[in-house]
Symmetry: C2
Subunit: 132 residues, 2 copies
DNA sequence: CTTGACCTTCCCATTGTGGTAATGCCCACC
DNA sequence: GGTGGGCATTACCACAATGGGAAGGTCAAG
């Protein structure tokens, strides 16, 4: 199987397949012509990576998860710990975005949004700061 | 005022002050020695940028907001529209992160997290896909 | 005159993905 | 035997926003 088909079957772009290989997540065999050759095992790996990415794991975490996955004797505790740390990071990030959205929505709620130039949003952005 | 003090008073790193200038958000005068020179007006602009960044506005939005801010006769409707679009983007992103976190937490909840290798998290990442 | 703090520009790294260009292989068709 | 189209290869460049650092100029105090 060449990279095009591997990409189609895994849902990972060919570009990214090469990239993942470049950073050592994947090792593909080469045929005589220099083309990368993939088997079902590789498709499984690529899908694994995609699923992990869909859950927002950064590639460095994916690397560790792959290592654990391949390690038949791993302790699930390690995986769980990694996952929970990531959950925490996701929630922190989500909270931060939510809080930005709330502040901004509050400002927008007090903005007439008509032809007049008067605007609490801009006023807030331009607010003076004490100290500094 | 040189860049160091402008940075201290605005809360924007000197590095970023130069960057904002490079992408045209800011124009600083130069003194004989080639040093950038800032006045109170520039500090206000830098603070404005920082506040907008704190609310998660990308720099392209900041550019527009700055233009509106400087435009004495702007319509607040434009600002409000920009703000609300950004609120929507923030919320979409936050929802996406929350949903990732929820999925992953669900998986983690069913993982023993002990010495045994059995792990639903890895099993899910490695799940087969129909079709494709 | 030296030292140290500050300034300058320029380059590199990050994270993950996409684009694009130049080039090469392979197969099918005439 | 050629030729064209589709797929492959590598090697760059780009994004957004920020930080890091090197190599050098400037200035004020000692």
């Amino acid at each position: 199987m060449n990279i095009g088909q591997a990409s189609a079957r895994s849902g990972v772009s060919a570009k990214m397949v090469r990239h993942y290989e470049a950073i050592g997540l994947l090792a593909a065999a080469r045929s005589n012509n220099g083309y990368r050759v993939y088997g079902d095992r590789d498709i499984a790996v690529l899908r694994f990576i995609r699923h992990a990415r869909d859950l927002g794991f950064p590639l460095e975490d994916v690397r560790r998860l792959l290592a654990l996955w391949r390690d038949r004797g791993r302790a699930s505790a390690e995986v769980k710990q990694l996952a929970l740390a990531h959950v925490a990071a996701l929630e922190t990030k989500a909270d931060s975005l939510r809080s930005m959205a709330a502040s901004l929505r509050h400002l927008a709620d007090h903005c007439h949004g008509d032809d007049r130039p008067d605007c609490p949003i801009l006023e807030d952005l331009a607010r003076k700061e004490l100290g500094r």
